[in-house]
Symmetry: C2
Subunit: 227 residues, 2 copies
């Protein structure tokens, strides 16, 4: 059985990505990051998601990007809550410098140890069009890097970064996940949950999620604080 | 003054690289990693080296590659001590999967926060010919990745990875460092120091270092356990 390293955040995109990797016949090795997030609840969601979808193993890499500062998800600056339509050209303040580059670098290291050549990441160029490291050009550049960066690459492994969600809408992702048996009640998306761990229902991430379920004609099974 | 992120391990290559970045007029931001090394002494050497050469700031990123296993420097397998000439085609067992990819990813993140476009790394394709991620092809692929991976790159920053040592012999590096005032007594190279922190004088790294000083006609100022 071919092995793949699958990045799992605990959100619904990575849950669907993990389900797709399993459907495609891979033995999935789930990799999550604890990168100075404000909410440990994300870590717990990642554990539940990986276990529920049958990941063969699950590793957590603790990486502290707060030593550099510079992002809404790692600093104590306010998470945006707005009705304004975001300028598609603008890079959101929730952008974390080089985050997916760092994530894929770790995935590549684990691949080499496992003898795997496949990495799955739930990057999406539709809802996250502002993130440079969610675009096909980035994914392609990383594949080219992997080929020359590693012992395995030099010895002939062809690394492939799978991005099954890259051109899907949030509604498509939710429909696909539901079709593959993802239990969305285990997932967590909110940037700004309550002390009890309830999703706020108002941040960008909650709004995109709720609108996705609405478009998909499905019910979001998680409880929200403000609804 | 232009800023640069400079990777500093505490060894003589990175000390010379840092001195070169300062000579070239950069304000140097030193970045070191604590990646589950067996020897905290490397961390202390990095601090001394960065301070002595006038780094503007110094950050340590704690990254634990032991969660994946797979290398002599992170696992408890024996460090090679041998007189045998290494096959130039062979990748040493001290190779750490994707290590420089991970290191440069962190450097890239800090660059974005600092508004810097320059990274210095003491990669060397002569003495470390077996490491895929010490070759010009790797460095070039990482520059191409940086251009598409980041907000800064998308907005026009041209990232450059400086590898001033890439084709220098160890003797050349030592001569260059000495010329630029590097205090080699502050540096640490040994893979297998004694409990007191003395270099063993027998591991690959010590042997390359000692031979380098010999070829350069200079005296290695650090004490050794076995000589």
């Amino acid at each position: 059985m071919k092995r793949a390293v699958v990045l799992v955040s605990g959100g619904l995109d990575s849950a669907t990505t993990l389900a797709i990797s399993v459907r495609d016949g891979f033995e999935a090795y789930a990799l999550s990051f604890d990168y100075g997030q404000r909410h440990r609840i994300e870590v717990e969601a990642a554990k539940r998601v990986a276990a529920s979808l049958g990941a063969r193993a699950h590793r957590f890499a603790a990486i502290d990007l707060r030593i550099f500062g510079g992002s809404a998800l790692t600093d104590e600056i306010a998470v945006p809550k707005t009705d304004a339509v975001r300028d598609a050209e603008e890079i959101p303040v929730t952008y974390v410098p080089a985050r997916n580059t760092i994530f894929l670098s770790y995935a590549l290291a684990w691949c080499e140890v496992l003898g795997a050549g496949d990495i799955f990441i739930g990057a999406n160029a539709v809802d996250y069009s502002g993130y440079p490291d969610c675009r096909p050009a980035f994914i392609s550049a990383f594949e080219q890097l992997a080929a020359v960066a590693t012992k395995a690459g030099v010895e002939g492994t062809r690394f492939r970064i799978h991005t099954p969600l890259i051109s899907m809408s949030k509604a498509d992702i939710i429909r696909k996940g539901a079709e593959l048996g993802v239990d969305f009640s285990l997932t967590h998306s909110c940037y700004d949950p309550t002390a009890d761990g309830l999703a706020c229902g108002a941040c960008d991430s909650c709004r995109i999620r709720l609108e996705g379920f609405r478009s998909a004609g499905l019910n979001d099974p998680i409880p929200y604080a403000n609804r």
